[in-house]
């Protein structure tokens, strides 16, 4: 199952990423788990310098920005491809 982690605080950008990811995954109707992490030991674990961070299946994909919807969808597809399962 796809595990998506959003690492962020309560700033506008972090909230926007959270919203975007929820919308995307709802639309795609994929069996997944979305986790919001807001503790800085989590940030450090992934070596994130700027919030928010997006992690899928333990792979850090973006930091400090809100990726476009098409980018998020592409990542999800990549994660679902055989070599990542």
């Amino acid at each position: 199952m796809l595990v998506v982690k959003i690492l962020g605080a309560n700033c506008p950008k972090c909230r926007r990423l959270e919203q975007e990811v929820h919308d995307c995954l709802n639309e795609l109707e994929i069996d997944c788990e979305i986790v919001k992490l807001d503790d800085f030991t989590d940030f450090m674990q992934y070596g994130i310098l700027k919030l928010p961070g997006l992690v899928m299946n333990d792979v850090l994909l973006s930091t400090g920005r809100v990726p476009s919807r098409s980018q998020i969808i592409a990542w999800v597809a990549q994660m679902q491809s055989p070599e990542h399962i």
Partner: protein, 351 residues
Amino acid sequence: MQLAQLKPTREDQRSFIIVGVLAILWVIVYSNLQPIADWITYTLLNFSHESRLGEALNFFIYDVPKILLLLSGMIFLITLVQTFIDTNRIRAVVEKRGEGVGNLMASIFGAITPFCSCSSVPLFIGFVQAGIPLGVTFSFLITSPIMNEVAFVLLLGLFGWEVALLYLASGITIGVVSGLILGRMNLEHQVEDFVYAIKARGHQPGIPVEEKLSWQERFQQAAESTREIVSKVWLFVIIGIGIGAFIHGFVPEDALSSVMGAGAWWSVPVAVLLGIPLYSNAAGIIPIVSALLDKGAAMGTVLAFMMSVVALSLPELIILRKVLKPRLIATFVGVVAFSIILTGYLFNLII
């Protein structure tokens, strides 16, 4: 950065054309604002050139769109440049320098790197873990909030490029000076102990980390950031210009020169102390700055006031408390306030 990745695709070309057309429109409108404002006030609304109300209205009709256009255009440019800034790479560059050069570079990078205050803790830990000296880390963390793109653009639009550059120079100076002082104080033990204990896992090999952005994505991100920033500040800007126009007309010239002029030596520290508890965004503070300057306050004093308002904010200090022990927080505030005062005097002296 590999050049192949910068080569525009067809979608990129389309977004280049859209941005180009918008830029041309921007220039045409911007360079015709005065004739348009004149036409609206004196022809359409039929005010006479001698009427005071007409003058004020003309000023308002000219200034508001000018500042808003400047704000949108410049913020777009700045945020576009910022999409190229990779914090990890900055950290790698700063890591190789010692104190001094390291402080200067960290400060310059801090000036151009945007991050919201919620990122100051991960940035701090990330820098300390990379073995970057505490003073250099502080140079980065101090300059970043001082240098605000909205403040920069408003100064540019209202006072010209000299003042905007002065703002940039003083922000970097404050970061360097504060960082150097803090670095000399051997405060490593005043950082919360767990910071040194956390082990970063780092990137696993064979996994794509950050994908390179296409031009289309960069334009989209810049447009999104611009929309976000401008929609947050436009009202403040209009109100500010209104208040500025009012003060301009009703407060006597030189009313402040005895209190905030370059001659009053105590005015710089007082301005900085006043600024520490005040927490405001740049958009709200610049109109006040503009009004103060008009009435005889000295440039250094006014800049010092502005920086102390934006640099030392309670929310940021509360966030930093997670990684810094109380004594270091207090030292941090003291040293930054001191460098702002120093910079204030410096600019009062040279201007």
